[in-house]
Amino acid sequence: MTTLRIKNVFKRYPNGAEAVKGVSVEVGDGELVVFVGPSGCGKSTLLRMVAGLEDVTSGEIELSGRVVNDLEPAERNIAMVFQNYALYPHMTVRQNLAYGLKNRGTSKSEIDSKVEAAGKLLQISDFLERKPSQLSGGQRQRVAMGRAIVRDPAIFLFDEPLSNLDAKLRNQMRLEIKSLQRRLKTAAVYVTHDQVEAMTLADRIVVLNNGLIEQVGTPAEVYSRPDSTFVASFIGAPPMNLLSATLTDAGAQLGDQVLPVQTSLRGDVQLGLRPERIKISQSGSGASIEVTIVEELGATRLVHGIVGGQNISVAVDAELPVPTGQAVISFRPDDAHFFHATTGRRL
């Protein structure tokens, strides 16, 4: 079953700018789908169209089998968590949670029991009588989620909900969101520009760029088989190395270096290599690299160097010795990705 079906949706603003240029996505029951992309890629616009906060220029948005294009946000059976929480500052946490229910005409006793339940679930029961200004960032974030949960919606919409939190809290809340969503088994769309959040949270990732979908897939698929150079460089940290190479019978020619690859392709391509899939050693067989800078990341080191006149980075385990000066790189031939030299599509 599908909860949300977005069919060929366009968004054109009155000034002619196109934010979303024909996007089709489905979100299954209980599935958490992450829209990820750089700022201005249309991911937030898409989410806001699902929420009913933006008009749909053309296309259809179907929620639980019902076209909702012309429905008000409140009539859509959605709940949204905003980036800056958007809690009502003059209301207590309890009032914040209850406001939506009250507007729907839910009975007092039902509101109370739902608010109590959400409070317990999110561990905010102790703060129910406080105002948002008396809460910490993480607690406010929980209240914002509580406000979504009490509505018992068909789908949760998260609009970059963690970007206002500090790094440590962000990791913690990320886990909480994931476990909460698993427990409630409610479908969710989560918008973020942070690929780590996307990878860790998603059942499926939708990578957007320039108002178009670049790729849809599970985190593993998107990571291991990126459809385009855009996805390849956006997903994964540090990003994939993209090198201009010419494929010949001998292998991939990079300047004066030849890298051994397995492919029947010939001609100019962009060669993609994940930094963590490249091995580097001081000596041995393989293409030679001139090491320029080494970045210390704790668990790994990132070695930057030049191969055949092009910049490349290699992730090295912290226990391994740091190569200096002239070194040698190698990789398994099937770890190489090939993309079209100009369009950037996977070959």
């Binding site: 929420a51 008000e72 946000p73 409140a74 949204m80 500052p89 507007n103």
Partner: protein, 280 residues
């Protein structure tokens, strides 16, 4: 450090002296007998007739008909001040609400038209205003006294700026929560605007209280006279050889200054909060 402190205090005291000096002299003079004031001018010291003078001013039947007392004029002034301030808040808040939150074609245009009325103060349009009110039969009524004054470009501007500072996500959250325009206004916007409303109320109360020209023109019935008008009334009763009641006029001036001063002193904190704070 110490020297700057002394210097700072000197400047402050000088300011206090310049601003409060005349008031103190006026107050002290008002406690003297009017004949003495007529002979010797303004007085410094305690004349000992405080209770006498002030109770006379408040309760003495004066004016042409003898129906109007200081107390009644105070009430009229309060009605004008409060009605004026509340009216301005209601009208300008609604106007700003429409301008900021409803996307109608001429919103910006309307806002600038409203803003333009700043160039047309009451004094400029007083004759047409008078004629309209007269034709509506509202002369000598509180409605006629208050309503023509309550449209406020300044208030609309203040509220517009304030509403614009309220994060848009709050509006959207309310929409998702199913709040219609009315609910949003009463449940969210109104409580958030409290300090802003208090600040505007204070300013407008003082402005309303100090209205002189419009009430003078509007009210011929003495039972609608305001305090600010009344001061002039007392000075006018120089009939024959009577010496004007300088002490009573001064007392009335003091009285007419008291409520606005009290309002400011009591609501000072809220007033400053409303002007500087953006509750988010």
């Amino acid at each position: 450090m110490l020297r700057t402190k002394i210097y700072d205090h000197f400047v402050l005291l000088l300011g206090v002296f310049i601003m409060m000096g005349p008031l103190v002299v006026a107050f002290m003079t008002s406690t003297f007998d009017h004949v003495l004031i007529h002979k010797e001018g303004m007085q410094v010291g305690w004349g000992g007739k405080f209770i006498e003078t002030y109770s006379t001013v408040l309760s003495q039947q004066g004016g042409f008909t003898g129906e109007v007392t200081g107390w009644l004029m105070t009430q009229n002034s309060l009605i004008l001040g409060i009605g004026f301030a509340l009216g301005k808040i209601v009208v300008s808040m609604l106007a700003a609400y429409a301008i900021v939150y409803f996307r109608f074609r001429a919103a910006t245009f309307c806002f600038w038209i409203i803003f333009l009325t700043l160039l047309l103060p009451l004094e400029v349009r007083i004759l047409p205003s008078y004629e309209v009110v007269q034709q509506l039969g509202l002369l000598n009524s509180y409605t006629g006294l208050i309503v023509p004054l309550i449209a406020s470009a300044t208030g609309t501007f203040f509220f517009r700026q304030f509403f614009k500072s309220i994060p848009n996500e709050l509006v959207e959250a309310a929409r998702v929560d199913g709040a219609g325009p009315m609910q949003f206004f009463f449940d969210i916007l109104l409580p958030l605007s409290k300090t802003m409303m208090a600040a505007i109320f204070i300013i407008m109360f003082v402005v309303g209280w100090n209205q002189y020209l419009w009430p003078t023109l509007m009210t011929t019935d003495e039972s609608y006279f305001t305090l600010v008008r009344g001061i002039k009334q007392i000075m006018q009763i120089m009939i024959g050889a009577d010496i004007p009641k300088y002490n009573e006029a001064l007392a009335m001036a003091m009285l007419s200054m008291l409520p606005p001063a009290l309002v400011i002193i009591i609501f000072q904190r809220m007033f400053i909060k409303g002007l500087v704070e953006n509750e988010k």
